[in-house]
Symmetry: C2
Subunit: 496 residues, 2 copies
């Protein structure tokens, strides 16, 4: 059981860490032997901004997990028979089943011969035909418009209007993307300017999803941290936001505020009141809002509900809705569909200067278009079967099973983790992860620090080696100094 | 016929341009009225590097083409009934049919229920099963490894070995990508460093594919132009390369040499001798080679053959093959498959420093993975049906039809364009475009320049308005001062 695994892993922090430390040193040795050749592209000559990029979710711990999977296949004996990759929100890899309707439409679009096959329901066929007719030469092998296929952007706009109780949305403000990461980086690219004390500062929550820190390092923007309140279920605290902003103004030009709601890795769901406070703060302090809302369908805790920044903004009236600039991000990789491999997503921009929008459109055109296969998946997500359609009942049933499972896992994970000594876990209100705090003994912390390694990285490596569970150390997301955490995708608890 | 269209369009350059000029001025007026608001993100405050990005292939001319399509649908009368988008190498949009086997495998991977359907050939099923087994949870909805699915990278390596007569290739050196653009930009990102006179210079051919100039603008690298020799069928001339390099050394640190072979937009195919010269030059001058070889399957002219830079490099012996650093790019968007919408491709790196490779792997991991649907398409391209397989004959026949059509169109385009007065077109040896030189009357050039517009842009806009043919002005690719060209995708000539 998970409890067993966690308890077993927990005992690891009490044992001798030194073999692992030495092993790590050898790996470092192997890497540097290569630096002696007279190459053009070397660690010294390469782009220094790229060197600073970190992305723990797919870092050394995952490399080791993949190696271990190969070792298991080769018959190497380990205390487990399977590596569980809880490092990343990869739903299907964790056993979640794809939604049938979504895959039917995908298959019909890929191979339109199937439109003559009576095994496919009529509504799937109609949807496929509608998308194909919007493609050049009626083929998903054609490039789409760089902003995305127009009818799909219209469907997204309608979906947003419905979600937000009728607040208007326009297809012109929708940009389809290659997952959400793509458009988040694109928006940051547009926003970053200036040098020295005029360099753009970007406020991000700590803990954060490391795409943000990675993109800011690459763009040489100033990362401005505001800490979420662990004691208060990782809530966003406006006082802390203000402290962070004022501090940042001494050395850079902070003009962007990033919010992740529901939280990744922290799983909190923002209250409506908190969102209003953030919007007022952004308006007063002239901050461009970036709302990462990719987990909007993943809200589990009683009393919690997802409120989109756009809806709250417009309900606050024209004093705010005429002024505050906002970009909101969504993805096909999360929610109930979990179609990460299709790399679909969209961004909606609100109150964007028209001339800047022309620049944005130009910028996305350089990469030609988001994958059309991902656009097709997105279209099903925002325009699903309706009551009366042949696929409606099955679609809704499958969706409910996935969301029900995720809710149950969220509850159980919190409950079980909090039973383990030395682990403390906030309620998982939403998203797909737990981010428990762990106590690591002083001696182990010292040993790790002497080696220039984060103590939680050692903990997670040890957890992986001994239990086969691959999680990501809290240092990969940021945490208050002296605290340690890890992020774990909700595991396959239920033998489903 | 094409000849009619070209002739008709050609007469346009002799008529009065002023209405068009004025119309354009109004558009500019509309754009700037928006700059008066008190926004955070404005043309003034935004990233200045992004403002410098240009990408003519999807620029204003395409925006207008899309508008015109809508006007036609709304019943607006025009001298034509269809807009022909010859601006981009979008094969399926121009009527090319997808390869059946490729789409069968895609559909099987998207909807594995179809594995029970006896309408699908066994080899398609086997291929789909093999890919699915390499996916987490056997679903293409899972993230793949960031570098790409391992068995697909192995298939790519085998494909390269076969193409290059047995020269070894390793899956470790293969990075799958979101189209070729993705990995080209990633490599440039790694390579660009330094400030002022130490800033990285990147040599690119002129005319070039504007992804290069766009990426260099965004990365603030120094674009170093070397001119291809129009009088000599757009051949690369080492003397010109040397002139360009020496000139660049006065103000930057040139360390990258980009080659596009077969040429885009220029359609030349490099001789083996020329490739050897370039490799020797790169070795002597310590330049990192980037070989854009996405049109490697598109070679038509008699006596021309594609030679990969890697093959030539290794056949030149260890003096070069142990030293020269090379990245080569390929794509699923061109060749015989033309599957642009799937956004598939790969990069092979040669002689890359191991520590830099670790940085590269880290960098691609931030975007999680290339679309798995594109990886599936790539796998079929590099590991197609073999003699004896049930799909072999049909696959080969379909491939031959596409390549035969493209070859015939290349020949006819050149022949017909050269019959038009004021147009001169080099032989189209490879790739998918013609890049004819056009004579624009002095008066029209003057008028356009007074308005700060490129004369060839006016020509192409007029061509679009009067004939419905959308082509890209030569200024979008670069051309010698005082000359004018346009790039045109080989049109649907043959009523196929």
């Amino acid at each position: 059981s998970l409890l067993d695994l966690i308890l077993r892993s927990w005992k690891l922090s009490l044992i001798d860490w030194s073999p692992l430390v030495n092993q790590d040193r050898n790996v470092a040795g192997k890497m540097s032997q290569n630096g002696t050749t007279d190459r053009i592209l070397t660690l010294d000559s390469m782009n220094p901004s790229i060197k600073k990029v970190e992305y723990a979710v797919r870092g050394p711990i995952v490399t080791r997990a993949v190696e271990m999977e190969k070792e298991l296949k080769q018959g190497v004996k380990k205390p487990f028979t399977e590596v569980i990759k809880a490092n990343i929100g990869d739903a299907h890899a964790m056993g979640q089943k794809p939604i049938t309707f979504l895959r039917q439409v995908s298959a019909l679009c890929a191979y339109p011969e199937l439109l003559n096959d009576n095994k496919f329901p009529e509504d799937a066929k109609q949807k496929a035909v509608r998308v194909l007719q919007a493609c050049g030469g009626q083929s998903i092998g054609s490039y789409s418009a760089s902003q995305g296929i127009e009818i799909i952007r219209q469907d997204v706009a309608k979906y947003i209007e419905k979600r937000d109780g009728g607040i208007p949305s326009s297809a012109d403000d929708i940009y389809l993307s290659t997952g959400a990461s793509d458009s988040i980086v694109t928006m940051l690219k547009l926003l970053v300017a200036g040098e020295g004390a005029c360099r753009t500062g970007v406020l991000i929550p700590i803990p954060q999803y490391p795409l943000y820190s990675a993109a800011l390092a690459e763009l040489r923007a100033v990362q401005v941290n505001y800490f979420l309140d662990e004691e208060n279920c990782w809530a966003l605290d406006i006082k802390e936001l203000r402290r962070s902003l004022e501090e940042a103004r001494k050395h850079c030009n902070p003009k962007v505020l990033c919010i992740i709601n529901p939280g990744n890795p922290t799983g909190q769901v923002q209250s409506r009141k908190c969102i209003e406070d953030v919007i007022r703060f952004a308006a007063e302090e002239k901050l461009f809002l970036m709302a990462d809302e990719v987990y909007q369908d993943n809200v589990y805790a009683k009393g919690c509900a997802f409120h989109s920044f756009k809806k709250v903004l417009f309900e606050m009236g024209p004093k705010y809705s005429d002024v505050v600039e906002l970009a909101s991000f969504h993805s096909t990789s999360k929610g109930f569909m979990g179609e990460c491999g299709f790399r679909g997503g969209y961004m909606e921009v609100v109150n964007m200067d028209l001339a800047v929008k022309a620049q944005l459109t130009k910028l996305v055109s350089v990469r030609l278009c988001p994958p059309v296969t991902g656009q097709v998946v997105l279209d099903v997500v925002v325009n699903p079967p309706q009551p009366g359609d042949p696929s409606y009942k099955q679609f809704v049933a499958e969706k409910q099973v996935v969301l029900g499972d995720l809710a149950e896992k969220a509850r159980l994970t919190e409950e079980i983790l909090n039973q383990a000594p030395g682990i403390r876990c906030n309620p998982v209100q939403g998203a797909m992860y737990s981010f428990p705090r762990i106590h690591i003994p002083e001696r182990a912390v010292r040993l790790a620090k002497e080696e220039g390694q984060a103590p939680d990285m050692f903990f997670c490596m040890k957890l992986l080696e001994e239990t086969g569970i691959c999680v990501v150390p809290g240092s990969g997301f940021g945490q208050r100094e002296g605290t340690h955490h890890f992020r774990m995708l909700q595991p396959r608890l239920l033998n489903k």
